[in-house]
């Protein structure tokens, strides 16, 4: 058996082949922008384009005149009406009226905060504690603590995480003429309202 030299590969593309390749590549490139790449996989359920009521657990809309200072409620957002989906942690938000020393007695939006209840550490549900001396969000699982003013973790394992994973996602609120509270359409990105369970960059 004599050893045969391998056929010379590379550098020898005929003009016809080259043009065929260009035509094929051109066709592909023409259609690529029209295909909505990668939009299939993310779940669009979280995208809300209209403002929504701040609906308290008792079914009423939160009102700045009646909601007590230094208290909190769990709010479902975006609400679907599906029992299983509405129980989901990632749709659970903590609606807080700040304590007096942080400006909670003002009758405008600045007195209210709405943070994702999903702890940034391992996704337990934290909660606001209004007791004197506490007045902070606390996670029952590993003891992360959150500042109600900014949503930043200041103690516990969540505080050790690098930004944006140390600041809770928050929703922007607005008041109407009757001083009812509404949730503005969110922008789910770390630079906007943040991402539930992952965090937000704190704008200074």
């Amino acid at each position: 058996m004599t050893q045969q030299t391998p056929p010379n590969r590379g550098g020898k593309v005929s003009r016809r082949d080259f043009l065929k390749l260009m035509a094929a590549a051109g066709t592909v490139m023409t259609f690529v922008p029209f295909v909505d790449w990668g939009k299939f996989l993310p779940n669009p359920a979280g995208n809300v384009s209209a403002r929504a009521k701040v609906e308290l657990p008792n079914g009423t809309q939160a009102n700045a005149k009646t909601f007590p200072v230094n208290s909190s409620q769990a709010v479902i957002y975006p609400k679907t009406g599906d029992i299983a989906l509405d129980k989901e942690s990632f749709r659970t938000w903590q609606f807080i009226r700040l304590p007096e020393e942080l400006g909670g007695n003002k009758n405008d939006v600045s007195a209210f905060r709405m943070y994702s209840m999903v702890c940034l550490h391992l996704w337990c549900l934290w909660k606001y504690w209004p007791d004197p001396g506490r007045k902070r969000g606390e996670c029952p699982c590993h003891g992360s603590m959150y500042d109600p003013l900014t949503g930043q973790a200041f103690a516990g394992p969540a505080s050790l995480q690098a930004p944006p994973s140390n600041v809770l996602a928050r929703l922007d609120l607005e008041l109407d003429n009757d001083e009812n509270l509404w949730i503005k359409p969110p922008n789910w990105s770390p630079n906007g309202n943040g991402i539930v369970g992952y965090g937000r960059f704190l704008r200074t």
Binding site: G38, P42, W123, K127, P140, A162
Partner: protein, 536 residues
């Protein structure tokens, strides 16, 4: 009563017709042997892994009938499978333990190929696909234990999601794609990955990964299945606690194949570096190692550097796996304090393991070479390997005893199920499998003894065959007769194009040189019936 393929009835003719039709399919390209005697399972660990994959597929499909991939119901449906559904406990336990066994066997398979040097020189594609298969296997096992949605699963999901999120640039998009938004999506998506995407990838890669020579050893497959059931009976997998976001979870660690990664994460160093970059680097190193290994020889003794690297990796895997499990038992300390591993200590130990492993490898090679030299100096024993020679009568007796034991076990398994002792029944079924493996082995032994020629003076085995020869990996172990081995052509010479012709010549050779019938039979397995007819 006697089922014989010798007698031509319509069923046999139908089976023969199917067999002849298979000649046109891909299966005939594979050389598929059922060994006629005991061969080391190290040579066909890959096949065993594949058998486990099939077992997992079957049990998994059965679990799919009752599992509900829905946030609220996932855990409850698993509980129903475990407690209410008839045989659900058995199927779930087999599924769980087979997944662990598959990861373990895949690891063993990889390291055996690594140290025996079979992963290089024309086997690079097999190696690279094998590494990808291994990674996918771990992902498959990971998604499997997550969809129970217990506390432990939630912990694993949240860590996996935050690791994916930590990847620069692409991370957030990947997290969105793989995990969706929220627990409901996670469960559903992990389910989809677990039952469809990953298995389909695995199957596709397996088509590439399969070598042309396959060994299906019935007793070993039975023994592995038996061991899985036995383990399932002794250590039945628990349900864990249902995940409740408002109650503090107990301390949980992930499955054993991920505790190594968990140990790195627990150093609380940057998530991307510890959780993505280090394992990524490890996988990358495994992928490129056959191209880095420039040794001309194959034995681990002749490739000191590569062997040392392999030993180092094993040492580090063992240490990190153990460390990941270990949590300071002192409950007076804060949780974080108990969990966090001091990174300086941790990485120092990892570094220290490198010279230790290199030294260990050096010592082992030195010892092995010494032993080799000593063996050369001493006169060889005439017999070579010692073998157990049971008289025929005893084979019958042992076989009957095992059969009776088998009947007893069946009855006890039946009563165990009747009495609701699920663990015990699973355990006994495991023993049934093991006993069956033993019976098959004795049967095989008896058959080979019946067919063996009268004892004659064996020529001493040439030393070249004693070494782990790199070229014919699996058939070397399966070619049964030692006396005829030099005559039979090395199987690697056969290329796919000239396979049928070379097989014909091989079978001609076997008919000329009077081989024991057993070899003939194993050849006849692979040679299509047409060639046999032509030959005779």
């Amino acid at each position: 009563m006697v089922v014989s393929l010798e007698r031509e009835n319509s069923l046999v003719r139908f089976l023969r017709w199917i067999y002849a039709g298979l000649e046109r399919t891909i299966f005939m390209g594979l050389k598929f042997t059922i060994p006629g005697r005991f061969v080391s399972p190290l040579g066909f660990l890959g096949m065993l892994t594949f058998v486990l994959f099939i077992i997992l597929g079957i049990t998994g499909a059965l679990l799919m009938l009752f599992y509900e991939p829905e946030l609220d119901r996932a855990w409850k449906s698993v509980q129903t499978i475990n407690d209410v559904i008839p045989y659900g406990f058995h199927i779930r336990n087999i599924h769980y333990h087979a997944s662990n066994a598959m990861v373990m066997l895949a690891l063993l398979h990889m390291y055996y190929q690594y140290f025996s040097g079979r992963y290089k020189i024309r086997n690079e594609i097999l190696w690279v696909t094998g590494i990808i298969l291994g990674v996918l296997t771990i992902l498959e096992a990971f998604t499997g234990y997550d969809i129970i949605f217990s506390e432990r699963a939630e912990l694993a999901i949240s860590i996996a999601a935050s690791l994916t999120n930590s990847i620069p640039i692409l991370g957030p998009q990947m997290r969105d794609a793989f995990f969706g938004g929220g627990f409901h999506d996670f469960v559903l998506r992990f389910y989809a990955f677990h039952v469809f995407f990953l298995p389909i990838f695995l199957l596709g890669l397996m088509v590439v990964h399969f070598p042309r020579f396959l060994v299906f050893d019935v007793p070993m497959v039975m023994a592995i299945s038996g061991a899985i059931m036995l383990t399932g009976g002794v250590f039945p997998v628990d349900l864990g606690t249902r995940f409740d976001p408002s109650t503090p979870p107990g301390i949980t660690v992930p499955e054993w194949y991920l505790t190594g990664l968990y140990a790195f994460l627990r150093t609380m160093y940057d998530k991307f570096v510890t959780g993505v970059a280090w394992p990524g680097l490890f996988i990358f190193a495994l992928l490129v190692i056959p191209f880095v290994d420039r040794y001309k020889k194959f034995s681990w003794k002749d490739r000191p550097l590569i062997t040392a690297i392999g030993i180092t990796s094993i040492a580090q895997i063992i240490v990190t796996t153990y460390w990941g499990f270990y949590i300071d038992p002192d409950i007076k300390k804060a949780l974080l304090e108990r969990l966090v591993i001091d990174p300086i200590f941790f990485y120092l130990v990892m570094l220290l393991l490198v010279p230790l492993s290199f030294g260990f490898t050096y010592m082992m090679i030195k010892l092995a070479k010494n032993a080799e030299a000593n063996a050369k100096l001493k006169p060889k024993k005439p017999g070579g390997k010692s073998s157990i020679n049971l008289p025929q009568k005893w084979i019958y007796i042992i076989f009957i005893v095992l059969l009776a034991f088998q009947v007893y076990l069946n009855i006890s398994a039946y009563y165990a199920v009747l009495n609701g002792m699920k663990n015990l029944s699973l355990f006994i079924i495991g023993i049934i499998m093991l006993v069956f493996a033993g019976m098959f082995h004795i049967y095989r032994h008896g058959r080979s003894m019946a067919k063996a020629p009268p004892p004659q003076a064996r020529p001493s085995v040439p030393p070249t065959t004693a070494k782990p020869s790199p070229l014919p990996p699996k058939p070397a172990a399966t070619v049964p007769s030692t006396t005829e081995r030099p005559l039979s052509p090395p199987p690697i010479q056969k290329s796919t194009a000239s396979q049928s012709s070379s097989q014909t010549s091989q079978s001609r050779q076997t008919s000329r040189g009077s081989l024991p019938g057993e070899t003939k039979a194993s050849n006849a397995d692979s040679v299509p019936s047409t060639t046999k007819e032509r030959d005779s």
